[in-house]
């Protein structure tokens, strides 16, 4: 399968999903559109453009030719972002950021523990001071006030 054909196919599937989900919203009429009208119109347009991408993309590279072998590190970084989203309100800003920097520098990059500890503390406590104290934007503190 070609790269553009896969992408175009994904757009058509997404368009189908949006149309399916829009059934819960009143469509209204063409002259008096309801809240379901606009998403359906856009989904139809997305499906049409997806089809155009498929038809025009016959010369695109094969999907299998895309390089995904180095994706483990990228997935680890995405995991770190998801962890921040999950832990920020529960653990507090400073503790969460210390954990993230330790994970990225210590586990993913395998740097010296002293460098890891220094960077983790400096980044999390430094940014907390800047935003929470100087700019007065309250950041979550968590159960241990961290």
């Amino acid at each position: 399968m070609k790269r553009d054909q896969a992408a175009g196919g994904a757009f058509i599937v997404l368009a189908g999903f949006v149309i399916f989900e829009s059934r819960k919203l009143p469509f209204g009429s063409l002259s008096d559109p309801g809240p379901g009208y606009w998403p359906v119109v856009l989904a139809v347009a997305l499906a049409a453009f997806g089809l155009a991408v498929i038809l025009l993309g016959t010369a695109s590279p094969r999907l299998a030719a895309s390089e995904w072998s180095g994706s483990r590190k990228a997935i680890a970084i995405l995991g770190a972002c998801a962890f921040v989203a999950l832990a920020l309100d529960r653990l507090g800003y400073r503790l969460t950021m210390v954990a993230v920097v330790v994970f990225l520098l210590g586990v993913v990059e395998r740097k010296h523990p002293l460098l890891v500890a220094t960077a983790a503390v400096a980044l999390s406590f430094g940014t907390h001071y800047l935003i929470d104290h100087l700019l007065n934007v309250p950041l979550p503190r968590g159960p241990w006030e961290l």
């Binding site: 919203l25 002259s31 008096d32 606009w38 856009l42 991408v53 970084i77 995405l78 990059e109």
Partner: protein
């Protein structure tokens, strides 16, 4: 003209008084500092520092906020150029070629061109604001929902027509952005669309988490996959500035960007966001080397940066002349004035000449302060690139999370950033441009509301889009553009 010059003299006497001047300088410094933080843009900067202005005189307050605004705009460009992280929607286009210039060792030149372009655009647009505010505001008032809908459709098509890659792909991306923009509460009926029980999605997907995810996070993910980490070359000191050739290359795009930005900026609503996108598209079309766009074209930085700043000035026309804010930032500034008991509008010039002309003069002063402040700082900003990448990317990631969270103190925004990072990573690997998604996301609620309001005005008749001359002309141009786009695409397919 005599009256204008007299007013301007009064304005300069206010703006150059030590107290007001000091606040202009402080505003520019604070704004730049906030804007340089990845993910924090002018809106976040002004909102965070708004309470500080409450205890000041009205003129000083508005001068301080304007300084923060310009400073943050420039600061946002810095992170766009050095790290590919836009602080707000207007910096999205600067990311593309600005970051490529950084990768080629021309970070200093890109920052200098951005600073000079912003200065020229800001200064020229202030002249426009001063001379043309009343008549332009009158013209802008003719823009009702049908004209606005037509303008937005044209803007989307201009972007698709002039994007370097496939038109079908660009339109698919813009439509995906428009679809993402339907998430949240429908402003006309109150229906919660695609919320799935997440109340934080009521206001829709925020531009900052989406832009930071699609640009900044996806860049980190792509770099993580590479065998060798990216090592943008920090330029040696004598190459820190733009060379003669680069300055020459930037001159015409700067002037075109200024004109485009100012004209787009005066339209009430949030059309000014289109300015940098349209400017980028125009520069790519006019360039003798369009293949350089996306690979570090000087015009790709100079045009959008100038357009962005000119639009920022243009956006003050409807705010000052009509009392109509043309986006969230002028709205916050309008609120600041109202806190002081001042209602901007047609009577402002007569009733508060010191404030009006002082504000205008402070724009000149602010632009000059920013130039004086930022050109020497180029070296310091560029030295960030000397930090090893394994230390830089965790720091950038922390700032991205912080910037995204700080906008509305919601972890839902962090999930959105993560999701958009994944989406941007996959799309960029599949050779799709992600900028049209951001534009679509921003324009979606405006476009939908304009279309539905137009239909309500015409009792359901679509003829309203062709009966009104401005809307008909704009849609005619859009149709012509679409047909011109379809022909080469069909040729390529056959």
């Amino acid at each position: 003209v005599e009256e204008t010059l007299h007013g301007l003299a009064l304005g300069f006497s206010v703006a150059l008084s030590p107290g007001v001047l000091a606040y202009a300088v402080v505003g520019c410094i604070v704004g730049t500092a906030v804007g340089v933080l990845p993910g924090l843009g002018p809106l976040a900067g002004i909102s965070l520092l708004l309470p500080v202005s409450f205890g000041l005189q009205p003129t000083t307050a508005i001068v301080l906020l304007a300084g923060i605004y310009y400073g943050a705009m420039y600061g946002g460009s810095t992170t766009s150029i050095l790290m590919r992280i836009p602080g707000e929607a207007a910096s999205v286009m600067t990311c593309i070629d600005g970051y490529e210039m950084t990768r080629r060792g021309r970070a200093g030149a890109a920052l200098a061109i951005a600073a000079l372009g912003s200065f020229v655009a800001g200064t020229v647009a202030v002249v426009g604001l001063m001379l043309l505010a009343p008549p332009l505001a009158d013209f802008a008032l003719r823009f009702g929902p049908p004209e606005y809908a037509a303008l937005l459709v044209l803007g989307l098509l201009v972007l698709a027509a002039m994007s370097g890659g496939s038109m079908a792909k660009a339109l698919a991306m813009a439509t995906l952005g428009l679809l993402l923009g339907t998430i949240g509460i429908d402003t006309m009926t109150g229906f919660f669309r695609f919320g799935y029980g997440v109340t934080e999605l009521g206001d829709g997907l925020g531009v900052v988490p989406v832009a930071v995810g699609l640009f900044g996070l996806s860049e980190i993910l792509l770099a993580a996959e590479a065998e060798a980490p990216p090592s943008p070359k920090p330029p040696p000191f004598r190459e820190l500035w733009a060379n003669k050739e680069e300055l020459k290359e930037a001159a015409a795009p700067t002037l075109r960007g200024t004109l485009i930005g100012f004209l787009v900026g005066i339209v009430p609503g949030s059309a000014h966001i289109l300015a940098s996108f349209v400017s980028y598209a125009v520069e790519r079309k006019l360039s003798k080397r369009p293949e350089m766009f996306g690979k570090g074209a000087v015009a790709g930085v100079a045009g959008p940066e100038s357009a962005n700043n000119a639009a920022a000035c243009g956006a003050f026309v409807p705010m000052l002349a009509l009392g109509v804010p043309s986006g969230p930032i002028p709205a916050v500034m309008l609120a600041a004035l109202m806190v002081h008991g001042i209602a901007p509008g047609p009577l402002l010039i007569d009733q508060q000449p010191e404030l009006f002309w002082g504000f205008i003069a402070s724009m000149y002063v602010g632009n000059l302060v920013l130039l004086a402040l930022n050109l020497p700082l180029v070296g310091i900003f560029v030295s960030l690139l000397r930090i090893p990448y394994y230390l830089l990317y965790p720091a950038v990631l922390v700032f991205c999370c912080l910037g995204v969270y700080a906008v509305s103190s919601s972890t839902v925004d962090l999930w959105i950033m993560t999701g958009c990072g994944l989406l941007g990573w996959v799309l960029r690997k599949l050779d799709f441009e992600v900028a049209p998604i951001v534009l679509g996301l921003i324009l979606s609620p405006l476009l939908e509301t304009s279309v539905r309001q137009s239909l309500a005005m015409s009792s359901g008749s679509y003829a309203i889009f062709v009966d009104r001359p401005i809307a008909a002309i704009l849609l005619g141009v859009a149709l012509l553009l679409f047909l011109l786009m379809v022909r080469p695409a069909r040729k390529a397919a056959t």
